[in-house]
């Protein structure tokens, strides 16, 4: 199992969710987060100089999937979250040791 942790633009979230739904990926956990990347945020230019907005609101999606579905989910998120401009975010993939359903106690997905 893999944990796919994607940090994306909030305004792309609807597209990502819909694209995942089309491939029958429903389970996810969403967080509103703040962050920055290599560009350290956005610099706003004014006549009197510039102003740095270093932390930008993002949506963090966490999805746990079977090993074989991981690449597909990564592709979907990559395409649906992309605008091509700086600030589209990142996807992290982590191994998952166990997954337990609280209601029934059953293991794995």
């Amino acid at each position: 199992m893999k944990l796919i942790k994607a940090i994306i633009r909030p305004e792309r979230f609807d597209f990502v969710k819909k694209a995942l739904e089309d491939k029958a990926i429903y389970g996810m956990t969403i967080m509103e987060v703040m962050g920055r990347g290599d560009q350290k945020g956005i610099a706003l230019q004014y006549r009197g100089g510039s102003m740095m907005v270093d932390l930008i609101p993002k949506i963090q999606i966490e999805i746990v999937v079977k090993e074989k579905d991981a690449e597909m989910v990564i592709q979907i998120v990559k395409e649906a979250a992309k605008t091509g401009k700086i600030g589209d975010g990142r996807i992290f993939v982590l191994p998952v040791e166990r997954s337990i359903r609280v209601r029934t106690g059953e293991e794995d997905l």
């Binding site: 305004e11 609807d14 956005i42 706003l44 907005v53 930008i56 609101p57």
Partner: protein, 398 residues
């Protein structure tokens, strides 16, 4: 008549009540935008209030209430409030009190227009736009209806500002929204209100302040003021229930719909408050709720980003209110008869007053916004809009 302390006291209180409506508009709008523009939206209302306050005492009051020039505008006799003093003479209240009572109306009108600029206006351009708009659009319209202009002389009735405040701000918001353009991403992804309780609180301030708005417009502490107070509350309630029911039929009974309906009812009764009775107020409010709801659906269907529905609620609600005054005016209340009492002339006079104000406000705003947009630019840059106006225009975060 010499100065009447009851009337003077009531007008002082009414002025303070109406003042509270302007931040009320800010909080109403602020809850409807995304969180990154919350401060900006509230600040625009405060800025509108402060700007119009200064403009009004320097020149605005004189343009609206100075000696009539051709039925269109007042002269400059009261510039800098010269001759606007404490001495009531043979009036029931001092001129300086009437001046400030009218000031708070001019200020809230400007705040309502910010609906069409939400989440994308450049603050410096807004300041210039607001000063020019209140001078070129509000002041003449106030003069037409209340300052001895042509609308009053043809007998068009506007008790508390349905035409002057609501038609003008609603259609101005539509015009300015057409010039500034849609918010980036409008129609592609959802832009949900970020704080509905804040909007409900804003609506509460508006409903409360509206008692000063309408009952204060009687310019006396008397039975007519009490009637205006009562019909105002009735119409707000009928509007709230009508919109609530309409949204229930189409899905869930939304609280935002309910308070939008209340504001629609308040707008609808504004021109009529001194001319109609309680039962007419139920009809005016309920129809206002339904008309404004339909106008909002039409606006969404057309993909127009008049973002916070000043056009649907204030513009269309004001238009209905002006026509409704011509329909429901009752001689038993204030000596004027409407269509239902067989007076077609009243209906026609009100329709002319309303439609002229609508066309004037829309066209002048369109030209004014166009000129500012092509010179200074009305809109922030793409990056500034993306990070939000709170940070980019004010350097602050919620």
């Amino acid at each position: 008549m010499v100065l009447d302390t009851g009337t003077t006291a009531w007008l002082l209180a009414s002025t303070a009540l109406v003042m509270l409506m302007t931040p009320g508009v800010g909080f109403f709008y602020g809850g409807l935008v995304r969180r990154k523009n919350f401060i900006s939206m509230v600040a625009l209302s405060f800025i509108a209030f402060a700007l119009v306050s200064i403009q009004w005492v320097i020149v605005g009051y004189s343009l609206a209430f100075g000696q009539d020039i051709g039925g269109f505008i007042g002269n400059l006799e009261f510039v800098g409030l010269s001759g606007v003093g404490m001495d009531a003479g043979d009036a029931a209240y001092p001129p300086i009190l009437f001046m400030v009572f009218q000031l708070v109306f001019a200020a809230i009108t400007m705040a309502i227009v910010t609906s069409g600029l939400a989440e994308r206006v450049k603050l410096s351009s807004f300041i210039l736009f607001a000063l020019l708009w209140t001078t070129l659009v509000y002041d003449p319209l106030a003069h037409w209806a209340w300052g001895g202009g042509w609308a009053a002389s043809i007998g068009s009735l506007d008790f508390a500002g349905g035409t002057v405040v609501h038609i003008s701000s609603g259609f101005a918001a539509l015009a300015v929204a057409l010039i500034i353009g849609k918010r980036s991403g409008f129609g592609q992804y959802s832009m949900e209100p970020h704080n509905i309780p804040m909007t409900l609180l804003g609506a509460a301030l508006l409903w409360f302040g509206w008692f000063g708005f309408n009952a204060g417009s009687a310019l006396a502490a008397d039975g007519l003021a009490a009637n205006a107070f009562v019909v105002t509350n009735i119409s707000a309630s009928a509007g709230a229930l009508a919109w609530l029911a309409a949204s229930w039929v189409r899905g869930k009974p939304s609280s935002l719909g309910m308070v939008s309906g209340a504001v629609a009812g308040l707008v609808g009764i504004t021109p009529a408050a001194g001319y109609v009775g309680p039962m007419a107020a139920i009809a005016i409010g309920a129809v206002a709720g339904l008309i404004c709801y339909a106008a909002m659906l039409f606006r969404l269907k057309k993909g127009l980003d008049e973002s916070l529905d000043a056009w649907a609620v204030h513009g269309m609600g004001g238009l209905w209110g002006a026509l409704a005054t011509g329909i429901f005016a009752s001689a038993a209340i204030n000596g004027y008869s409407g269509l239902l009492e067989g007076n077609v002339d009243q209906f026609i006079a009100n329709a002319i007053g309303a439609i002229s104000a609508m066309v004037y406000a829309f066209v002048v705003t369109l030209v004014l916004a166009f000129i500012i947009d092509r010179t200074l630019g009305l809109r922030v840059s793409e990056e500034e809009e993306y990070v939000g106006l709170d940070i980019s225009q004010h350097g602050e975060r919620v």
